[in-house]
Symmetry: C2
Subunit: 371 residues, 2 copies
């Protein structure tokens, strides 16, 4: 049986669980491990599709919650779907809205049916359920859709997390039943916090439902590196070898290196664009704060040796000036660099896996990044 998104493992690192693979989607291939920039509102903030492609982006993520609220999935559908709407002809993944409903929306009420909440934009009363999350994602038309899951606010008791796991599995079944598009993959999301038994229970139940891929949920921006490693340690062993594995919301270079070592293939995170808008740049030797007065006359690019558009064209002194003068081009250039940096990191990871030197590569990069 052919799947809408096929995954192929091309090479396994002999000294870790790292693997190099290829995701074949209706909008082209994605070499993995891969980083997906976040285009929350159908735009990766400040970047045109051309600029995004030039950073090395092959697949991006868009947020169902935000797009359902504004402009509304029916608008996107009527304009030809998300790819055409935003002028991006490469692969797209949409999340289910679950995470945002629990973190952004006001006064959420959760029942077995779904979640009732108020829009963070205008206070409108809305509902999201497994069925509607799938229906909205089918209208948006991404290459990969995600199951609607329950994301308990952490820290939480084991009882709360166990209850969320139960519901996440029941909702996953309903998502699978509701899903009809044959040109769109559907991934399950494993919850369970740092509890090996709950993660295992959740993963087994989802694997029995035979999804096109599996995500590790419940780990996101702001967690410590140890928390991320712990969640992975207790989860990835349960995920099938022949399906893509996606760690949601994680994009720190250190976390990516750790996660790849446990067999993760896909990542998304707002980090490169959010940091970029805040004048903080990712480089192989750690973060560079462009507002720092030290860069006032600094003729060097953001990162020496970087082949991104920002580094090929401008000095730190110029980009610093743009930030000091509150010019849009500052956030744009810093975002371009940061996204390009993460794509370069994953490209180097893929090469290291193929050449069976990933473990050494990981240690070298971690050392250069510093604390």
């Amino acid at each position: 049986m052919s799947r809408p998104v096929e995954f192929q493992v091309l090479h396994r690192d002999p000294a870790s669980l790292a693997r190099r693979g290829r995701l074949s989607t209706p909008h082209g291939p994605v070499e993995t491990p891969a980083f997906m920039p976040v285009g929350t509102q159908a735009t990766v903030k400040g970047l045109t599709p051309d600029q995004l492609r030039a950073t090395g982006t092959s697949m991006l993520l868009a947020n169902t919650y935000h797009l359902a609220l504004r402009p509304g999935e029916e608008v996107v559908a009527q304009l030809g779907g998300l790819h055409r709407f935003m002028g991006w002809d490469g692969p797209i993944l949409t999340d289910s809205g679950g995470f945002q409903v629990f973190s952004l929306a006001a006064r959420s009420k959760i029942t077995e049916a779904g979640v009732a909440f108020r829009s963070h934009i205008d206070g409108r009363l809305l509902e999201l359920s497994p069925e509607s999350a799938v229906r909205i994602q089918e209208a948006l038309g991404a290459d990969v859709a995600m199951c609607f899951d329950e994301c308990p606010a952490l820290p939480a008791s084991k009882e709360t997390i166990a209850s969320a796991v139960g519901r996440t599995v029941r909702w996953a079944r309903r998502c699978k039943d509701a899903h009809t598009r044959s040109d769109q993959a559907l991934f399950g999301i494993v919850q369970g916090g740092s509890h090996a038994d709950l993660r295992g229970e959740c993963a087994e139940a989802l694997v029995a439902l035979d999804f096109d891929g599996y995500a590790v949920g419940g780990v996101s921006v702001g967690e410590s590196r140890e928390q991320v490693r712990e969640a992975l340690r207790v989860t990835t062993p349960w995920l099938p070898e022949d399906r893509p594995r996606y760690l949601m919301g994680v994009g720190r270079p250190q976390d990516i290196l750790d996660a790849v070592a446990t067999g993760i293939d896909m990542f998304d995170c707002v980090l490169p664009t959010r940091n970029g808008r805040n004048a903080t740049c990712l480089t192989g030797s750690g973060q560079v704060k462009l507002r720092n007065a030290a860069h006032r006359l600094d003729p060097r690019p953001i990162e020496e040796g970087c082949d991104c558009f920002a580094c090929q064209s401008f000095s730190r002194a110029y980009v610093r000036h743009l930030f000091m003068a509150k010019e849009m081009l500052g956030p744009i250039l810093a975002s371009i660099h940061n996204v390009a940096y993460l794509h370069r990191l994953t490209r180097q990871i893929r090469e290291a896996i193929t050449e069976e030197r990933f473990v050494q590569f990981r240690l070298e990069v971690l050392e250069a990044l510093g604390p």
Copy 2:
């Protein structure tokens, strides 16, 4: 004697004073009539140099006042000059700071020596004089520098304007004496309001000083179309045929058409980028307000038939969504379109002059633009 910027009239319209020409600068040629987008702080807001070039921009303007305040001309000079600093290898014109000192700065005090004022950014006490305005512009290193002039706030009595004309001429002489860069042109600025005698007096005195080009000052954003026409009517007859003529701060399509008919060759204006950031787009049939609910599902580009990047790639519905969602890409795309629109207009004007049908072309465009 060879000039740093040579001007050549290529064709004259037989039925008006319109002319097609070419400005040859150290950074390449500019076909005239030409529109120059404004890069106030060494960036045309939101656009990369590539995007700017793709709109059809050959020459741009940067503001001496803003750059002297931030990052400081010594920073720009140390980073290799304005072209290298901002990554723009095409021609650049800098204004003298005169207009901003009179309109933006706080508590300006004018004496024969120059203007003392407080920075609008941090209240610092600063001075600008003919000599320092030239010195700063030489440090910035644009292809064309402008004389430091006195711009009286309008409306003003004829006496006030006459006094400003006298000072503008004396300052122009000091600018000329202070100017040393042989790879940079210096243009004089004609003041005199709507008084034919004062404009004539000012122009004659400046022409006697033999500048590389002449600007019509004292006309800017916010003036009525009649006021612009009146200032031109009393000024352009005094300007030498063999030098470029530049109408400062004007960029409404109607004004450009009127001004070309009186023999103006160059324009600059913040209009296309400022309007663009405000979701107002220029088109051949008048302005399009993208926030209008009528565009919610509008699959058309901003302007049908436009070959700019924004129109080739996106629907009005998408650009409207970007504005409603406060996404940076909205202002970027609308600015790209607006700048491209003005370049297309001036290109069509040049073609119409060559084909000796400018008068008819002007009437057709004015009619299509509507009131």
